[in-house]
């Protein structure tokens, strides 16, 4: 799809206006304009996010929740206001269902240790898929080791697609938890999560979706998805690092024991007994990442203010342009060709190791990810040690993709 076709089929997305919101995009790298194509690892910050964090740090910082002084009350209102924004952003029923954590990894570990560990019995099964990020594999392996449960892995096909039937056929009376990615970080595959969750629910299986790669690309409605838990990170959706969200169904969160003990998560402490605080504080021991939470709230506002359909259409057009352009390069193979993909392209180039390619592209100001993308089982499946990955945001341009292609050609010549 080219620019003109895009304009005809949908509202035009004003890329230049979007770019102006992100100050880092004007940077020069080795004398060339930055082409930031590593959004899957971490997206950039909008000016409003930077401003929100800066404003908090300069004018409102204090510890939250227990102070009666003005700053503490302001900081509390800002932090809790961010929770309300996140609740509306993913359409959770209650603000009690929004737990602030460090990121997706911590969210999944929280569920594994607080929900799964007391629940699982020897012989029970946790079902994941082959394309998961290590963060959605290792916490389950750990809890399986602790409980005697078994980790079951649903296969993907040669395109990197996970089929509903393949997942459903592995669900049994022993399956207690299903945990899968909404969007694969290594391949871009969008999983049929609504149908997977529905099938799991019908069998009484508790579901967790790893939404780290999804929230930046598509609207997420947890009620519509029907999942029990949904995990995502602030920094992949244009917010700060070190803050993320665990959404959990209130009924489940209520029943779960706290994960970490400390301040904030208690109502009353004596040496004989401690009474835990109500949701969401029960799961937020210690002083949280206050500025991070406030920055995340600003990122939510930013995304909510975007024409997300137009932004999505632009990202989709970038994906199509990148796929078509890279496929023309001799010796280049795209890894992950599922029909439904988010805007990222993982690839290998014959005779050019991804690591070398990453260095050569960087010399041209182009930032891509190279390596196993914390998804070593995916690399093993496709029999590659690593890939290069270009992952796009709505602020990327067709020209940046053309520069990427030119850089790859340059690397091919160097190693020919």
């Amino acid at each position: 799809m080219n620019n003109i076709a895009l304009a005809e089929t949908t509202r035009i997305f004003d890329v230049e206006a979007a770019r102006r919101e992100f100050p880092i995009l004007t940077r020069m790298i080795h004398g060339k304009p930055l082409a930031y194509l590593d959004n899957g690892a971490s997206a950039q910050r909008a000016q409003c996010v930077i401003d929100a964090v800066n404003d908090y740090e300069r004018h409102h910082h204090a510890n939250i929740h227990r102070g009666v002084h003005t700053l503490s009350q302001e900081a509390t209102a800002m932090y809790e206001g961010a929770r309300d924004r996140v609740q509306r952003f993913i359409n959770a029923r209650s603000r009690n269902e929004i737990i602030f954590v460090r990121g997706t990894t911590e969210a999944i570990n929280l569920v594994a240790q607080s929900y799964a560990r007391p629940t699982l019995r020897a012989g029970d099964e946790v079902l994941i898929t082959h394309l998961e990020h290590h963060a959605n594999i290792v916490p389950w392996q750990m809890v399986c080791e602790q409980t005697g449960a078994r980790l079951v892995v649903a296969p993907m096909d040669a395109q990197g697609e996970v089929h509903l039937e393949a997942v459903v056929s592995l669900m049994s009376a022993r399956t207690k938890i299903l945990a899968c990615a909404h969007v694969s970080n290594a391949l871009g595959t969008v999983l049929p999560v609504r149908r997977i969750v529905a099938a799991a629910k019908a069998r009484g299986i508790i579901t967790l979706l790893d939404g780290a790669q999804a929230v930046s690309h598509m609207p997420v409605d947890v009620q519509e998805l029907g999942c029990d838990f949904y995990a995502f990170s602030g920094h992949k959706m244009y917010g700060p690092t070190g803050v993320g969200v665990l959404y959990g169904r209130e009924q489940l969160l209520d029943r779960m024991p706290p994960w970490q003990g400390g301040g904030e998560m208690i109502l009353k402490v004596t040496f004989a007994k401690t009474t835990y605080n109500a949701l969401p504080n029960k799961f937020e021991a210690g002083t949280p990442n206050i500025s991070g939470g406030i920055g995340l709230g600003a990122a939510v506002d930013f995304l909510s203010g975007l024409d997300r359909d137009a932004a999505h259409a632009h990202e989709d057009a970038l994906l199509h342009h990148a796929t078509a352009t890279l496929n023309k390069i001799q010796g280049l193979r795209i890894v992950g060709t599922a029909p439904d993909k988010a805007s990222l392209v993982s690839f290998v180039v014959e005779g050019v190791h991804p690591h070398d390619l990453g260095t050569i592209l960087d010399e041209d100001g182009i930032a891509v990810r190279t390596g196993h993308h914390c998804a070593m089982p995916v690399m093993d499946f496709f029999k590659v040690p690593a890939t290069a990955r270009a992952s796009f945001a709505f602020y990327n341009t067709f020209d940046e993709i053309d520069r990427l292609a030119a850089g790859i050609e340059r690397a091919r010549k160097l190693f020919a």
Binding site: H353, H355, T359, G371, P385, A386
Partner: protein, 151 residues
């Protein structure tokens, strides 16, 4: 920084046609090295004769810097005593990491690795094979060598 300084002809040549690449039958020592950050891995096998490296070969999967470095290393240490090879390890390590490293005189083709110093993210690529070799040469018992990791 200039890419040509990193990917010098010697590096490109040894990446394209790695020397001493493949299995080594009846090796006295076999040791594995991993770079968990990027997934590079190599297996180094060597024969020792009276404390001298009489033969050495490597195989594995890695980037051009890692492959060329291993290839150059095998050429450089073959025929050297343990001690001389370990001294060479120290010099190469210094070459890769120390901005105040003395000129690469006497290092021969290994001098081509000096460009890596300007690319901190790539130093581990070049040093993996050397750490792997050093671990084998320093080990008291060649039959139970632990794998080497750059992390």
């Amino acid at each position: 920084m200039e890419l040509n300084d990193l990917y010098r002809d010697v590096i490109l040549d040894h990446n394209r046609r790695p020397r001493n690449f493949g299995n080594l039958d009846a090796a006295d020592a076999s040791v594995e090295g991993f770079n968990p950050m990027c997934g590079d891995h190599l297996t180094l096998r060597l024969k020792l004769h009276d404390d001298t490296i009489s033969d050495i070969r490597f195989e594995g999967e890695g980037c051009a810097i890692s492959t060329a470095s291993a290839s150059l290393m095998t050429e450089a240490v073959k025929g050297k005593s343990r001690e001389a090879a370990l001294q060479l390890f120290d010099r190469v390590h210094q070459l890769l990491t120390d901005d105040a490293a003395p000129p690469a005189e006497g290092l021969g083709k290994l001098a081509a690795l000096s460009g890596v110093r300007e690319y901190p993210a790539r130093v581990k690529c070049a040093s993996l094979c050397w750490h792997t070799l050093a671990s084998a040469l320093k080990a008291a018992d060649l039959n139970s060598l632990p794998a080497v990791s750059t992390e």
